[in-house]
Symmetry: C2
Subunit: 129 residues, 2 copies
DNA sequence: TCTGTAATTGAAAGAATTTTTCAATTAGCG
DNA sequence: CGCTAATTGAAAAATTCTTTCAATTACAGA
């Protein structure tokens, strides 16, 4: 999985530096991390490099940036999924099954070409009820 | 509409100051404004007061904060709607018809109590195609 | 394997955004 | 109309992200 990402970098003409792979490894350890959480997992890498690597991985489609109300978070893009955010404890969980009904999308009719979408569900998780 | 919001403020024990109503009026003029756009519409109101008013209106459910990738934006909560964001020109349009199929939501089964959701659709608008 | 070079790194400075502090002002109750 | 707790805003601080630039390094080609 990391190999695939590293290949994508090299394929794009970018160097696979130790710093970049360290950030990648950090991202692979847990989803939805804040910048400081990522930084804590790759202590040797400078702040600026982390930012730049996240940008690069974002452009390559390897990483996605989230903004769920409490600042920026980052996750490996991997498979299509959505987020369920508990308003009580802040826990973020993922679900794969996409509840979007494409036939209900009125946008194509209005000449808007849909490329992607993101869906966030807010509520209370099992533990908090 | 502004009256309703002002009533909600007073009902919550908050004062309806000229600054707060000025921010409300600014918000009513256009959806998805950045902080500076809002500020430009109520020049007499101090920066801190704008931030605090947006917080307050958010707590009261009158205003919603968005984060669509280019920093914070604010909109009157009003009716349930979603956003279509053009990746080319950045234009944000709204659509009311919710394409969520509730029967596909697998969350209730996992004891997650859904309270609300937000859906953003990314792509290219008619003008940019 | 070695070398040259363009890409990359990171410290420091800067910019942008949001929050805190606190003294002065004011909305609205009685 | 006066009192008081809530509100305001200027200044300073905190936080978050970006730019700059000299030093370092990955890796393509010899």
């Amino acid at each position: 999985m990391l190999e695939a990402a590293i290949g994508k970098m090299r394929g794009g003409g970018y160097k696979a530096t130790p710093q970049r792979t360290a950030v990648l490894r950090a991202l692979a350890e847990e989803q939805h991390q804040s910048l400081e959480e990522i930084r804590a997992r790759c202590p040797g890498v400078g702040l600026v490099t982390v930012y730049r690597t996240l940008d690069l991985l974002g452009e390559l489609g390897i990483v996605r940036r989230l903004d769920l109300g409490d600042g920026a978070r980052y996750e490996m893009a991997e498979d299509h999924h959505h987020h369920a955010i508990c308003e009580s404890c802040g826990d973020i969980s993922e679900f794969e099954k996409c509840p979007l009904d494409p036939t209900l999308l009125p946008l194509e009719a209005s000449d808007f070409e849909v490329r992607s979408h993101s869906l966030e569900v807010y509520g209370r998780c099992a533990a908090c009820r």
